[in-house]
């Protein structure tokens, strides 16, 4: 679902440069989506974890 990516992009606008954002998603596809999103936008994916059906990501704003 693109919803998680769109919401993360919107939330990142309010994160200071160098700051982090935690995202929770329930779509297993989100793992690769967030890797690609961070690569494309120049942000750093600090963490990517799966806990049952919940996938969590920590993104560091670099651009």
């Amino acid at each position: 679902m693109p919803a998680a990516i769109l919401r993360a992009k919107k939330a990142l606008k309010d994160v200071a440069m160098g700051g982090t954002l935690e995202v929770l998603a329930t779509d297993p596809g989100a793992v690769k989506d967030f890797e690609a999103f961070c690569r494309a936008t120049g942000n750093e994916l600090l963490a990517s974890k799966a806990d049952g059906k919940v996938f969590s990501f920590v993104i560091k704003r670099m651009s």
Binding site: P2, A3, I5, L6, K9, K10, K13, F37, A40, T41
Partner: protein, 132 residues
Amino acid sequence: MASNPLYIMLCSGEHEKLQMAAMMASVGAVSERPVEVFISMNAILAFAKGAPADTRYQGGAFSKLLKENHAPDAMTLFRQGKELGDLKLWACSMALDVKGWELNALTDGLFDGAMGLTKFLSDAENGQFVTL
């Protein structure tokens, strides 16, 4: 980060294709990829101002699933793509002419203007071209 612009030719009025176009456009835009969408043929009818969602979106089995699962509205996805990235929507000037519409007959806040096919095809030589 260098990125290849995405040019989407949207002609189908099917809900599933409208939804996919909105998803591709918004995800591309938030991934810092410039996106332009050219809307023509049956697709332009789906952008009529004020159309209720159940008549705006007509499709097959997957359309039913999208509605049952409250999938994000395609118009909302396009709007978010414009808000969060470089996304432009162009109404086909031929389609507007044939339908007898001006731009103000279309959903507010989405369209950057009307454009001819020749111009869009020429611009699309700069990037990747997809048809829905």
